[in-house]
Assembly symmetry: C2
Homo-oligomer: 425 residues x 2
Amino acid sequence: MILPTLTAEAFSHLRVDADRLKSDFDELAQIGATPEGGVTRLALSPEDLRARAWYAERIEAAGLLVKDDDAGNLSAVLPSADLNAQTLLIGSHLDSVPNGGRFDGSVGVLSALECLRLLRERDVRLPVTLEAISFTDDEGCWRSLFGSRALAGMLSEDDIFDLQGDNAPFRAALSRAGIDPRAVYRAERAHNRLAGYVELHIEQGERLERTGVNIGVVTDIVGRTTYEIVFFGQAGHSGTTDMYHRRDALRGAAQFIVRAHEQVRARYGDGVFNCGDIEVKPGKFNVIPSEARLIVECRHAREKLMAEMEMLIVQIARESAASNGLTVESKPVAHMPVAPMSSQVIRAVEQACSLLGLSTMPLISYSGHDAQIISRIAPSAMIFIPSVRGISHRPEEYTHWSDVVNGANVLLQTVLKLALSDRID
Amino acid sequence: MILPTLTAEAFSHLRVDADRLKSDFDELAQIGATPEGGVTRLALSPEDLRARAWYAERIEAAGLLVKDDDAGNLSAVLPSADLNAQTLLIGSHLDSVPNGGRFDGSVGVLSALECLRLLRERDVRLPVTLEAISFTDDEGCWRSLFGSRALAGMLSEDDIFDLQGDNAPFRAALSRAGIDPRAVYRAERAHNRLAGYVELHIEQGERLERTGVNIGVVTDIVGRTTYEIVFFGQAGHSGTTDMYHRRDALRGAAQFIVRAHEQVRARYGDGVFNCGDIEVKPGKFNVIPSEARLIVECRHAREKLMAEMEMLIVQIARESAASNGLTVESKPVAHMPVAPMSSQVIRAVEQACSLLGLSTMPLISYSGHDAQIISRIAPSAMIFIPSVRGISHRPEEYTHWSDVVNGANVLLQTVLKLALSDRID
């Protein structure tokens, strides 16, 4: 079949239907709505399943095809007339954190649906199949980025059948949602069938708001390593133990936290360090702490600097231990590599913004997204829109509606650029 | 009745029966013995009740009177021939911390029993009644220093009937031990009936061992204030929140811990600071801590410097909060004033040591003891004997038997000095 020679310019006048998108957004926000104005749609929960059923209805109402895969990823499909066409994925996720915001994830899925709906209405035939996907459990209620990892063929047996961590409740939740835990691996897509992936998302930070820029074009999604660091000292009576012979695990841990924050700030301007929890043993007011267990996290957008940062953290832990007569053990418990976005897809996003008269700035994403998984198997990019005061994962999360519409139009025009350009490398 | 004019010199040859004391010690160490070589005799537990029953048997076997009061304090009594005589208390406690040592408390009670037993055997009639007392719950399994506080008339209704803290389990434990919670106040003694109190105890520190001195003569028991300090910040996504706009409660708390240790050390050589626990909210690796709740403790032997130290601590907390954009709340949750020992009783202890050819050094007690309570109503002193490596509250707690015998003989000769000197002021 020979397709007519089309160019994106022929469709540069197309815009999403902002009212229809708003109506979808408001309906979805009712599902799992919390008294504080947020939503709770934990992956595979009754609320999440209701959101998925609602999404499937909206897809059918739009005359699009409903597709759900073996990992519970749920999509609207607008097939290409070319039966050999690759698929261009766009979307995000419908699940939320507990009492999270209404915009996180939803904006990306609903805008993707609106793009397909509009293109079908206008009878735009493209040389790629379009798929507006909602990934399962992006937020990690069970397994972070579960759906995208399944699609990328990156799930291990352990993710579902690990006997050490008890995965039985997770398997039960999958089964209740109609997903066969043994068949999840079948969600993997042949990489050469994917043309790319574009995800529209709220920034969850304040860089766009503070600079007054409309659109953030994500260049990299930061890598992340989570460490468990344990300081071991010697318990003792807080009153009678000689002050000069104490081996106070909490004192060493506190020194580590202070120094790590200072030195990461001083040496790695773009790096992130967080110590989110500490557990002290025996934890009594009149006993010198014998153990302090910390969970710390490093993020950086450059793999090499990330590795340097990690070495620095471990080094500071050793020094803080030594200067307090302690021993220390540190081990990485999770690692996600840096995910660079595709320069070709980035260019398409920038061209779309330019066409729409929207200002842009390159941004590093400091949070994880399904795009960081899909980028390993297909050229990917992310479009960020401003978050008011950078608030996210809370009911107060907010994005001005005009920014959502901007983002949806950028997504639409990016899709057209990509679909009608040469094949993405 | 006119008593013969006796002097302590007449009995300066008396020594405790070291073998009999050792035999008692070994029997008692069996009660609540732990596999690690320590003991677990939590106050009012079955093990504690067995230890008390055993002690009552030993008292009766020695031909002494058994006395138990309404707070469960259990004593051996050697009455004076003078029916109007005051009572000289000596003793300590039979209860222990979980898997504690065999010497803490036991040495004081058993040596006191041995003193009375020996004096009865030798038919020494004194112008004071002697009482070898074991105080209830010195270690604070339920209420720290419960028995001595009851005896001193310092228990409030809240200690037993406070409705906020649930005291029902404590009342039930008292009842199971045959103690009527409503009658505890009746354990109060008329202050003018007490001639004094002397407590023999292991040092629980290394000062005697390191200097090679036989006996520590306690001059003061430190005052102690326990504070709860809470730092409040702002939770946020650990990746996306701007590094320069974080209000990290744990970072502020860590800074506080480091500075408080440093400055207390620099300014108050004899002061003690301990931060024994910290609780972080929400306590997730990828969320900036919004709250850090600390329990800290200050000890000092001078009331004025203690108050200064507390002010310093609160000041450092405020500074650490301010420099991290946090707010902080600090409140004292417990306070025990400094307890100076009686110079007259101290002199009797020193004379006893001199008589026995034992070297002495004045010591501050950095741990709490029943003597700090009784000192408020009667002239008191404490005799410390060396603890190997200063270890206490652990199964490895150890004191050479020769040191125990030294301590028991010092106690015996101190009792004779006090009983046969003029009335203690």
